[in-house]
Amino acid sequence: EAGVAQSPRYKIIEKRQSVAFWCNPISGHATLYWYQQILGQGPKLLIQFQNNGVVDDSQLPKDRFSAERLKGVDSTLKIQPAKLEDSAVYLCASLAGGSYNEQFFGPGTRLTVL
């Protein structure tokens, strides 16, 4: 089966600009996650979707970050405006079934904010 797809793989922007990342999960996976991985740290959950509904967005900086999964399949994460501290790898993951199952991760988008 195809894995989790993400694009772009790399993005360089200047601070205060906007950026969007796209994720297409594994077919049939109802749960989708966006993580932020800062260099030297483990992934930190930003938002979790179950189909097209938000389950957990408690760690999403809502003043600048937004995410949607309108049709319950692919998802977009947006940052507007970007700050220097947003430089990180943004990982998308999907899950089939219960949370005792493993998440499948995409290759990530490496964002550099100058």
């Binding site: 992934p43 959950l45 389950v55």
Partner: protein, 114 residues
């Protein structure tokens, strides 16, 4: 709140020797425990998990992990290290009580020396 600690940022092992990557956790209820590996410019790949049952869990690429409830540990092990095992390893935990969020450790960089 749930948490994971990986006390070693870096582990160096000679090729052919046994390796151990340490992980301890803290949860309110019972844990679901996971190990993931990350190669350069790649997403996280699932290695193994503990949900319930046998304390010794076997996973991909010859890795195994031992769940120790009294020590709240879930150390990753392999009897004979390969150079190709060199990567970044993350331990993660999910509490069976409360929300379904997966919390990751800060990662351990494993280097296998030829």
């Amino acid at each position: 709140a749930q948490s994971v600690a990986q006390p070693e940022d870096q582990v160096n092992v000679a090729e052919g020797n046994p390796l151990t990557v340490k992980c301890t956790y803290s949860v309110s209820g019972n844990p679901y425990l996971f190990w993931y590996v990350q190669y350069p410019n790649r997403g996280l790949q699932f290695l193994l998990k503990y949900i319930t049952g046998d304390n010794l869990v076997k996973g991909s690429y010859g890795f195994e992990a031992e769940f120790n409830k009294s020590q709240t540990s879930f150390h990753l092990k392999k009897p004979s290290a390969l150079v190709s095992d060199s990567a970044l390893y993350f331990c993660a935990v999910r509490d069976t009580l409360g929300n379904e969020k997966l919390t990751f450790g800060t990662g351990t960089r494993l280097t296998i020396i030829p």
